[in-house]
């Protein structure tokens, strides 16, 4: 385990300034409904504007519409977007993970077909991993792909599929060969599946705060042509594990409640805050700063070709717990009865964070599972 201090280069600082300018023009405070980090809604126009600036799929190769930028460049863009609570829902999953795994594991034809529209923010992806009986234990998925003429027939049910009701495609982790000798990591594949395929049914599951977003996706003999098997048949487990690494360790894992602190400062501008507020702000801001340094280092490691799976799990475990702690600290300070229908943005953000906050330490791999990943890594590599 190593977290070497790093800083932004002058060209990286230029990018940062550009993104800040863009957001100051596009999203001045008060002109949009600020979201809690990656829980943001879909705004296709906004995503397309970002794409036009070259900020969607930016780390993908130029020949497929990307910009050959680094993981740190992408980090710089997304930390600004997330800290603004910008409406990134449309392109988020494709930008964070699907584009990368298609580029890394996909066939030439798949890259040519999917990456350019991803970089133009035209294609929105969902994640088809979880099932009713498979959550943390993903290798136990029972969605089955059976060989048929020219492709595969998919049968099974995915659950908690965020955005499936409004996105275009999803990557389905499924069993493409029967379980042998109890080795459940073998015989799994990832399939690229069109969410409008015949035989595919999407049922909304109301989220805790009553909002749509969660879905159950039931697949009955959904035909998937051979050319849409992502990467190599039977390599689904390894590919999926590498996909999860993109899900962890980024600014989306510690910025979810940042807007609450920023709005707290905004509504108190000009009023003396008192010692308790200073204390709360001090401890919170120090930790944002610390986590940001760690998270940036993870991006640097990716750019050096390393595989910081343990480091990114460590950051996610810490960062997501912190996101919940921030909320508690604010609640202990501010007199309010949180109401989702408040007229004030600060109060709406607080209400929304109370209701959706538990999911921060569940989505993308639970805290408990991450702890065991980190502790195994510590065992292998030691602390320093």
């Amino acid at each position: 385990m190593k977290f070497e201090p790093t800083q932004l280069t002058s060209s990286e600082l230029e990018l940062q300034a550009e993104v800040r300018d863009f957001l100051a023009t596009e999203l001045p405070p008060g002109t949009y409904e600020r979201a809690l980090g990656m829980g943001a809604g879909k705004d296709v126009e906004f995503s397309k504007k970002l794409a036009a600036r070259g900020w969607v799929g930016m780390a993908l190769p130029t020949q497929y519409g990307g910009h050959d930028r680094t993981a740190v460049d992408r980090f710089i863009v997304v930390e600004e977007l997330l800290s603004h609570g910008a409406p990134i829902g449309h392109h988020w999953v494709a930008d964070r993970q699907t584009g990368s795994i298609i580029n890394r594991f996909g066939t030439e034809a798949q890259r040519e077909r999917f990456l350019p529209p991803i970089c133009r923010a035209e294609l929105a992806f969902s994640i088809g991993m979880s099932e009713p009986d498979s959550g943390s234990d993903l290798a136990s998925v029972s969605t089955r792909a059976t060989k048929t003429d020219g492709g595969w027939l998919l049968n099974g049910t995915k659950v908690w599929t965020s955005g499936a009701h409004e996105n275009d495609w999803f990557v389905v982790l499924c069993r493409s060969a029967p379980l042998e000798d109890g080795n459940k990591h073998q015989g799994l594949s990832q399939l690229l599946v069109d969410l409008s395929s015949p035989g595919l049914e999407i049922n909304g599951i109301p989220f805790l705060d009553g909002s749509p977003g969660f879905n159950e996706v039931v697949m009955t003999d959904v035909f998937v042509p051979d050319e849409l098997v992502l990467g190599e048949l039977g390599m689904g487990w390894a590919q999926n594990t590498s996909e999860l690494a993109y899900e962890r360790g980024g600014p989306d894992r510690w910025l979810s409640t940042f807007g609450i602190i920023e709005e707290f400062l905004r509504i108190n501008e000009g009023t003396p805050l008192g010692a308790r507020a200073h204390e709360m702000l001090g401890s919170t801001v120090a930790r944002y700063w610390g986590l940001r340094n760690m998270s940036l280092t993870v991006a640097r490691m990716i750019d050096r070709g390393e595989a910081p799976a343990v480091e990114s799990s460590l950051v996610k475990e810490m960062g997501t717990r912190f996101e919940q702690d921030v909320l508690q600290k604010v609640l202990e300070l501010v007199e309010l009865e949180p109401s989702p229908d408040s007229a004030q943005l600060f109060e709406r953000l607080v209400a929304s964070a109370i209701l959706t906050g538990p999911s921060f330490t569940i989505r993308g791999g639970t805290t408990e599972i991450l702890r065991s990943v980190v502790s195994k890594g510590l065992g292998r590599r030691g602390v320093a």
Binding site: I205, F207, L208, F214, Q324, E335, E337, E368
Partner: protein, 358 residues
């Protein structure tokens, strides 16, 4: 006799049967969209459970404040979506204290937030009341709204009973989707008001704090049981998740939160029965524990449930969202901790342990 808590177990049992049979998942869920649940209110009211702790002579069902608190605890465990605390312990109590008639239906109460502006002025015909009040539970669905209103010079304190049709109501909800409305009052009353002792405001605050403590105690216990059940059923990696040490930690922490809250809530409710003002320390300490437990236990319960706990199709949110809402009612940040802290300071070093052991 060494027993402190002497509520008749039959009361707890009857209340449990009643709430278990009325507050099923679908009913609690439906009440949120409807803003009211007649299917819960009617049988509970019929059974006289909405008037416990109020004297029979005044139209109540009799019994002590401890009895009422116990019934509330059971109601909290079942997420009963009705103004029970308001009717029996707060609004109804105000009517009784003011010797005003106790209405037949639900009575709600103005909880009193810092931005409320209600004032009263005596007039030739009676009393003029105007201003606004916030976070009034089920105002639109109540028979009467009870409010404590000072006169402009704060010389006199009135209990005022108004009908929802005589006030302007702006809908709003708490985190659990229960109505918490804003009311605008501008009326001249020729009856339905009375002067009360100035300590009534303090008593109402303490009763309010106690009512939420009891509701939270019930919800915490139910949440702990629900989580225990779920983690025994749900299997990952070939065994029930409740067998993993990491999950067991959540279960134990949740059970601890539930246990200490229930125990201290009941102790506080016993002391409160004699004199709420004299039970200030116990109520404040129990409330502080309930607030802290609500914050942590919801975290453990949700974590142990994974994504299942995050949907409205599963019962956890009926409890967790109420806990998140209740911990802010009759409680501002640091309010109850400060009461306990002031007690500690006032008894001094030598009195500290005796206070803990009181």
């Amino acid at each position: 006799m060494s027993d402190l808590f002497t509520v008749d177990p039959l009361l707890t049992e009857t209340a449990t049967d009643l709430f278990a049979s009325t507050c099923d998942f679908d009913e609690v869920q439906a009440s949120e969209a409807a803003g009211w649940s007649e299917a819960v209110w009617a049988p509970v009211n019929e059974a006289g459970f909405t008037r416990i702790g109020l004297p029979e002579s005044a139209g109540g069902s009799g019994g002590t404040l401890t009895d009422a608190a116990e019934v509330l605890r059971v109601a909290g465990a079942h997420a009963a979506p009705i103004p029970l605390a308001e009717t029996m312990m707060l609004g109804g109590w105000l009517a009784v204290v003011a010797e005003l008639p106790l209405p037949d239906g639900p009575v709600t109460v103005v909880p009193g937030t810092t931005n409320d502006t209600l004032v009263a002025t005596r007039s030739a015909n009676g009393l003029k009341v105007n201003g606004s009040a916030h976070r009034v539970p089920w105002a639109a669905r109540s028979d009467q709204i009870a409010a404590l209103v000072p006169d402009t010079d704060a010389n006199e304190l009135f209990v005022v009973m108004v009908k929802p049709e005589d006030v302007a109501i702006t809908p709003s909800t708490n985190l659990a989707g229960e109505p918490r409305e804003t009311i605008e009052i501008d009326v001249e009353l020729d009856g339905g008001f009375a002067v009360v002792d100035s300590s009534v405001a303090d008593q109402l605050r303490l009763r309010g704090a106690l009512s939420r403590t009891m509701l939270m105690a019930g919800a915490l216990e139910a949440m702990s049981a629900l989580t225990l059940g779920y983690t025994a059923e749900r299997s990952q990696f070939g065994r029930p998740i409740g067998r993993f040490q990491a999950v067991q930690q959540h279960l134990v922490w949740g059970a601890q939160d539930a246990a200490i809250t229930k125990m201290t809530a009941q102790v506080a409710s016993v002391h409160a029965a004699d004199d709420v003002l004299a039970a200030r320390f116990e109520i404040a300490a129990a409330r502080q524990i309930a607030n802290e437990s609500a914050a942590t236990a919801t975290r453990w319960a949700h974590q142990a449930h994974g994504a299942m706990g995050m949907t409205q199709e599963y019962a956890l949110h009926h409890l967790s969202r109420r806990l998140w809402a209740w911990r802010h009612e009759y409680s501002t940040p640091g309010e109850w901790a400060a009461v306990v802290g002031e007690h500690a300071v006032s008894v001094g070093a030598d009195g500290l342990y005796p206070l803990v052991a009181s």
